[in-house]
Amino acid sequence: MKINVYKVLQAPSIILLLLWMIVPLGMTIYFSFQRYHLLYPERSGFVGLSNYDFFLTDPALGVSVLNTLTLVGGVILITVILGLGISLLLQEAFRGRGIIRILLISPFFIMPTVNALIWKNMFMNPIYGLFAYVSGIFGLPVVNWIAELPLLSIIIMLSWQWTPFALLIFMTSLQSMDQEQVEAAEIEGAGFWSKFRYLTLPHLGRAIGVVVMIQAIFHLGVFAEIYVTTGGGPGHESTNTTWLIFKQALLGFDVGVASAGGVFAIIIANIIAFFLIKTVAKGMGK
């Protein structure tokens, strides 16, 4: 009898999450085979694969997938490298390190809309922005970041916000490193690189895995930064898959095509998730 009580305790979380996953998922799959346009509700019915055909032959699709991968990969690469470098620097003990650390991690707590708007307006604006001013001092040509390099602009914004995240996790992980081992290596005459290569990096393996996985989850669905800055443009230069589907759904009012896109996004996310979750599960072992 006692066992049942524990099953009952588990039930709410499992049932709710199951509903949260299955119901919208089922509806998305159902809609993806239907003609469902919010402006023409009278035209409805089963349309087979034509929504998929429409979505998959959209010339913007290839660009948006490539943009998504560039965005996720670029941000992860930059944040892991910067995070690693800074966390190693912060190993050095000095007065005021606490304050330095607080300043360094602050960007992580800034909300995405604010992040994007600060950068877009006060830094990247080609007339009044600080970047324009600084390049003016050095006599360099002024870059209209948002219009000319939209994807890079968004990568910069995200990297600014997420490097502190990587840093935070690497610092925590470094604290649990075996100092005796490091000292022993130093006595043996190990230089910086060999210590880094053979001691630090293996120790940080799991932390790096976690940083990569969590960032992949968040960056696959980047939305707010695009919403308040480039709007996916110019053309499709900064359109990721999330934005493409969003445009079909809420701007194009075509629920059917948007749902086909949603199913496509789910498949991509699952392929990535499959590899990442396996890695992390292995890391967490025990």
Partner: protein, 278 residues
């Protein structure tokens, strides 16, 4: 000239400290600049060369309050963040307790499955959620936001609590059961006090994630249930140059959670990594 070992070490130390300071200045500068701009007039905000010294004005803050009713949005942010966190905790604590102390054959798989729901792209379920909210007449209400945010954070909270509960020795619980404690009493008097730190860090993380959530808050709300992320997003639309006002709104929107984050950075790390990095 030969530089002595000790001197080398000192130079290295000073270079490192200098590098840390420079990096901290670079990373913090955008925030500093935002706060500074919020005290400028609109004309000063776009001045070139950029203005560092000026007579500060509080005008922007009062305009933000008057024009866009900052308090309402802040209240929505607070209510949805706290509400969603509370709801998720109420669901997660008993579940995580029973999974940690009475694991079944599939417990590990269930937990991994929960984590995998985080991989479901929000945009893929945008239409169903939007339509359901519309059918239930819940568009632009705090209730729908609280529910969605709670479901988004539930897997993370489950993982965290599970990891924390696992560390409580089961002998203590067995002893209490011998003394005739019921399940509720056991959770109330033994598990909760012992895992307090874990529950707190799960709650903190969830609050930060809710506060900064910017997909559902922008797309499912308008005037009534709009949160601070939505308020700031609304400033992106007119292409005018209202940087001082935008900065004031942004400063007000971010200040609470940034300060909050400063105090709880340690707990947040454990939460963000599902307890995998200690």
């Amino acid at each position: 000239m030969i530089i002595g070992y000790r001197n080398m070490k000192r130079i290295k130390h000073q270079t490192t400290v200098l590098a840390c300071c420079v990096l901290a200045a670079i990373f913090f500068f955008p925030i500093f600049w935002m706060v500074l701009t919020s005290f400028k007039t609109e004309l000063q905000a776009i001045q070139s060369p950029p203005l560092f010294l000026f007579e500060p004005t509080l005008e922007n803050f009062s305009i933000i309050q008057e024009n866009s009713d900052y308090t309402k949005y802040a209240l929505n942010s607070i209510i949805t963040s706290l509400g969603a966190t509370l709801l998720a905790l109420v669901i997660a604590v008993p579940s995580a307790y029973s999974m940690a102390f009475f694991p079944g054959r599939y417990t590990k798989d269930i937990l991994l499955w929960m984590l995998s729901t985080k991989m479901l792209p929000a945009v893929a379920v945008l239409m169903p959620i939007y339509l359901m909210a519309q059918w239930l007449n819940l568009l632009d209400t705090r209730i729908v936001l609280i529910f969605i945010l709670a479901m988004m954070n539930l897997p993370i909270i489950m993982w965290l609590l599970f990891a924390y509960f696992k560390e409580i020795p089961s002998e203590i619980l067995e002893a209490s059961r011998m003394d005739g404690a019921t399940t509720i009493e056991e959770i109330r008097y033994i598990v909760l006090p012992l895992a307090w730190g874990g529950i707190a860090s799960a709650a903190l993380l969830s609050i930060v994630l809710c506060w900064n959530e910017a997909f559902w808050t922008i797309l499912l709300t308008a005037g009534d249930a709009g949160t601070l992320t939505a308020l700031v997003a609304s400033y992106a639309m007119p292409e005018g140059l209202f940087w001082a006002k935008l900065s004031a709104a942004s400063t007000l929107a971010c200040a609470p959670i940034v300060v909050f984050g400063w105090f709880c950075q340690k707990q947040l790390v454990q939460g963000l990594t599902f307890g995998a990095v200690k």
